[in-house]
Amino acid sequence: MRREVLSNGLRVIVKSNPLSPAVAVRLCLHTGSVHDPRDKEGTALLTGLLLEEGTKKRSGEKIADWIDFVGAETDVAVDAHATILLGSMMRGDLEKLLRIFREMIVEPTFPMPALRRIQGQIVSGIQEDDHDTRAVAGRMLRQSLYRPAHPYRRSSSGTRKSVSRITRRDIARFHADHYHPNGGILVIVGDINERETLRRVKTILGNWKAKGDPFPPAVADAHTPNRIRIKTKVLKDKSQNDFQFGYVGIPRLDDDFYNAVVMNQILGAFGIGGRLGARIREKEGLAYYVGSGFRPSVGAGPFVVAGGVGPDHVGRAVQVVLEEIDRIRQQKVTRMEMADTKRFLIDSLPLRLETNEGIAAFLLNEEYYNLGPDYLKQYKALVESVDRESVLTVARRLLRTDAYSLAVAGPELPKPLEEVLA
C-alpha cells in the first residue's frame, strides 16, 4: 500500500489486490449537509447528484454512455459531513474514470433540466418516505433528539419545501464554496500497479487548486433531552407499527467508542439482535426485526433501538427494551457475552477485508478519522482492552430509563403509550 499527500492537500491511498481484474475507487470530499444553507436544506445532496449530469468537456449523456459502455458502476453518496464518489470498474478503465471524476468535481455544469429532474426525484422520495412507517419513525426520533439547528436533526434530502427552493445559482455557489481537494481522500484498490497509479493520480488531480478549510467544521454538542419524549403518528392503512427508541450517542473519536461498540453488540446486535432479539423476537415472538445500532460520526450520532411490531404489542416491546436497558445499566454483562463479542469483532476482520470494495471502505474510514497507519494492527488490542466494567460504565453514560425519546408510526395504538409505560 502507498499513501501520499499531494501538494494541494488531497490524500491518496493506493493498494494492489491482484485477485480480481477489477478496481474500486472512493473519492471523499469534506462537504455534506452540514453546509446546507438555511431554508435550502438538501443543497449538498442535490449538488452531489448533479455532478454526473454534465461537465465543461462532456455532456451528462456522454458520461453515462461511457460508464455504461464499459460496464462500470458509479454512485455519489452524500451524508452530513461528506460527499463520496464511488466507482467499480475493470482495471483498464481506471484512468478514464479518474479523468471523468476530476471533471465532475472541478468543472461541473449543473444543467437546468437535470436540476429540475433530480429535484423532482428527491421530492418524490420524500413523499414516499412520508408514507413509510420506518422512515416516519426515524424522522420523528431525530427531531425529538436534536435541537432545531443541529444538522443531525434532518436527513441530507431536506424537505419538500427546502428542495424546491434551491436554484442553480445556489448549487453553483455551494460548489464553489465547498468543493476543494485539501483534506479530501482518494482510495484506489484493485488490480493495479501502485507506483504507476499514484503517478497517474498526480497527473490527473495534482493541479486541482486547494482552497478553504481542509476539514469539516466541528458539530455542535448534543445531549439526550432530560426527560421522556414520546411521539406517535397514525398511518391508517398500515399493517404494523415501526418504533424507534433512542438517545444521542457519541462521536467516532470518543474515548468510549470501543466500549460502546461492544455494549451495542450485546444489547441489540450480536447473533439475532443480541439480548433484545433474544427476548422480543425469540422468546416473546413479538417482532420479525428488532435490534440496536449507533452511528458515531464526526459528531454524536444517534443510538437507536428499532423494531417492527403489531399495534397490540408496541407497548410490550418497548417495556422489554426498557427492562433490558435497565439490566445492562445495573449488572455487568457476562464473561461469556464479553468473550463471544470480542471474538466476533476481531476474527471477522478477514471477512471485511476480502473484496476491493471492503478494503477501500476500511482504508477510507481509517484515513477519514486519522486512525493511523497501524490501525489494523492496533484494532485487536483496542477491542481486547474493553472489559465488563467499561461496558457497564458506557451503558450508564449513554442509556437511561428515565430520559429517552420514542417515536412510533403505523396503525392507531389501542392505548396511549404513556399509559402502558407508566
Binding site: P18, L19, S20, P21, A22, E52, E61, A64, I67, D68, F69, V70, G71, A72, E73, S88, R116, R117, G120, Q121, V123, S124, G125, Q127, E128, D130, H131, D132, T133, V234, K236, D237, K238, S239, Q240, D242, G271, A278, E282, K283, E284, G285, L286, Y288, Y289, G308, V309, D340, F344, I346, D347, S348, L349, P350, L351, L353, E354, T355, N356, G410
Partner: protein, 434 residues
C-alpha cells in the same frame, strides 16, 4: 491472477451433491447448503411452510441447542443466514477457514437432526406474521404480490414466499415436521464450499458428517405447469400515500430455455445489466439506457426498475415504475410500452450489443469477487438446473446475435403475455393519507 482453481464435483452414495470451489481471496470459507424446495412446492393450506421451516432451522438441532446456535458462528468471526424463495431454501456460513468443520457439522445437523420444537413453532408464528405485515406496509410489495398472483393460476409461483396469511395462521406443527422429513434429505440437497481450503480434507469431513444420513426419497418435483396466457390481465390497487406505481409483468423463460441469454441481453440493452444473482440484485436501470432516458430524463417517472433472474420454471420479466408528480397512470403506461416496443422493434446495433455484453461481463466479475457470492451462484444454479450454467454463461452470452435479441424481444413483449398492475393513492384505501 484468478483466485479460483478447478471446481470439484462429487455425489455421495446417499445422493448428496457436493461442489467444492477452492478460491483464495482471503483466509475464509463459505459453506452453503441448498434444498430443492421453496414456496412453489407447497400447496394451498400450507403456503409459506418452506420459509417458516427455514426460520425453525435456526432454533436448534439435537447437537446444537437454540442457545448454542445463537452465537455459534459469530463468536468465531463469521456470519450466517439463509433465505427461501420460489424454487429453493438455503443456509450459509462464511467464516475463518479454520472453522470449516463447524459449518459443515451445522449443515449436517440441519439436514437430519433439526429439533422443530412445538412450542418454538408456535412462538415463531407471530414472528412470521410480523414479517408478512412488514411487507404489507409497502405499497409496492402489495402490488407485486397481487400482480404475481394474477399471472399464475395453476403454478405454485402464484403465492408469496412468506405464504398467505390465513395459511400461516392455521398451519399445524405436524405439517412442519412432515414437510421437513419429506424435503430435507441428501438426495434433494446440494452442499457447496468455496474459499481457502483443501478439497481432500473437506471431502473427508463431508463424507464423515453427511455420508451416514439416509438418502430419503427424492422430492416430487412436479408442479402444475402454467398454461399459456390468453390475453392481457390487469389488477389495480387503491391505498394510502400520495405516490402512483405501475408494475408490468411478462411471462419469462425458465433456466432451461435457450432464450434466457437473449432476455438477459435484451434487458441489458433496454435497462442495463444487473447480473444473475438474486443475492446481490439491484434492479435500478442505468442512466444511458432507453428506459431511463425516455421515462426518467423526460420526467414521466421518478424511478424505474427491471427484474429478471432465471428460475426453474418460467417466471417473470418485471418492470416497476414510480410516476412523476402530475403524470397520469395512463401516460406513464403508454410511454413505458412505447419504449419497450420501440426497442424490441429494431435490431440492436453492433455497439448496443457490445455495450450490453460488456456490462454483463463486468457484472459477472463484480458479482464473483467474494467466496460467499461464488458459492451462492454455484448452489443457486445447481438447485434449479446445473452449476454448469455458471461455467458456460459467458460464452453463451457472447454467442447471442443481434437478430436473436430482437426476435425474442418481440416475442416476450406481446400484449397477451403481460399483466399490468397499478397502485393509485388516496381513493378507497383503508384511510388514504395518514
Amino acid at each position: 491472477m484468478s483466485p479460483k482453481t478447478e471446481l470439484i464435483e462429487h455425489t455421495l452414495r446417499n445422493g448428496l451433491k457436493v461442489l467444492l470451489q477452492p478460491a483464495r481471496t482471503a483466509p475464509i470459507v463459505s459453506v452453503w447448503c441448498w434444498y430443492k424446495v421453496g414456496s412453489s412446492y407447497e400447496r394451498p393450506g400450507i403456503t409459506g411452510i418452506s420459509h417458516w421451516l427455514e426460520h425453525m432451522n435456526f432454533k436448534g438441532t439435537r447437537k446444537f441447542s437454540k442457545e448454542d446456535m445463537k452465537s455459534l458462528i459469530e463468536k468465531r468471526g463469521g456470519y450466517w443466514n439463509g433465505y427461501t424463495w420460489i424454487d429453493q431454501t438455503t443456509y450459509f456460513e462464511t467464516l475463518p477457514k479454520e472453522h470449516l468443520g463447524l459449518a459443515l457439522e451445522l449443515e449436517a445437523e440441519r439436514m437430519s437432526r433439526s429439533v422443530i420444537d412445538a412450542a418454538e413453532f408456535e412462538s415463531e408464528r407471530s414472528v412470521i406474521l410480523s414479517e408478512l405485515h412488514m411487507g404489507e406496509n409497502s405499497p409496492e410489495s402489495i402490488l407485486d404480490k397481487e400482480v404475481t398472483a394474477s399471472v399464475f393460476s395453476s403454478h405454485g409461483y402464484r403465492w408469496p414466499t412468506v405464504g398467505w396469511e390465513p395459511d400461516v395462521e392455521r398451519m399445524a406443527h405436524q405439517d412442519m415436521v412432515d414437510f421437513y422429513r419429506e424435503h430435507y434429505v441428501p438426495s434433494n440437497a446440494t452442499l457447496v464450499v468455496a474459499g481457502d481450503f483443501s478439497p481432500v480434507g473437506a471431502m473427508k469431513k463431508i463424507r464423515r458428517l453427511f455420508g451416514g444420513i439416509p438418502s430419503g426419497e427424492r422430492s416430487d418435483l412436479y408442479r402444475t405447469p402454467e398454461m399459456p396466457q390468453q390475453g392481457e390481465r390487469r389488477v389495480s390497487i387503491e391505498g394510502g400515500g400520495s405516490t402512483t406505481y405501475l408494475h408490468v409483468a411478462y411471462r419469462a423463460p425458465s433456466v432451461n430455455d435457450e432464450n434466457v441469454y437473449c432476455l438477459l441481453l435484451f434487458d441489458a440493452i433496454i435497462g442495463g445489466a444487473k447480473g444473475t444473482s438474486i443475492w446481490s440484485y439491484d434492479g435500478d436501470v442505468r442512466k444511458s439506457s432507453p428506459l431511463y432516458k425516455e421515462l426518467v430524463d423526460k420526467r414521466i417517472a421518478t424511478g424505474i426498475r427491471s427484474f429478471y433472474i432465471p428460475t426453474r420454471d418460467p417466471f417473470l420479466y418485471y418492470f416497476s415504475a414510480t410516476a412523476a408528480a402530475g403524470v397520469s397512470l395512463a401516460k406513464l403506461e403508454q410511454k413505458l410500452f412505447r419504449v419497450l416496443h420501440s426497442v424490441a422493434s429494431k435490431t440492436p446495433t453492433k455497439r448496443e450489443l457490445e455495450k450490453a455484453k460488456n456490462q454483463i461481463r463486468a457484472m459477472s466479475v463484480f458479482q464473483s469477487d467474494s467466496v460467499t457470492e461464488i458459492a451462492h451462484q454455484l448452489g443457486y444454479f445447481e438447485t434449479i438446473q446445473s452449476h454448469r450454467f455458471v461455467e458456460t454463461f459467458r460464452e453463451r452470452i457472447e454467442a447471442v446475435t443481434a437478430a436473436q435479441v430482437r426476435d425474442f424481444g418481440q416475442e416476450i413483449l406481446r400484449r397477451r403475455n403481460r399483466t399490468v398492475g397499478t397502485y393509485v393513492p388516496g381513493r378507497n384505501g383503508k384511510g388514504g393519507r395518514g
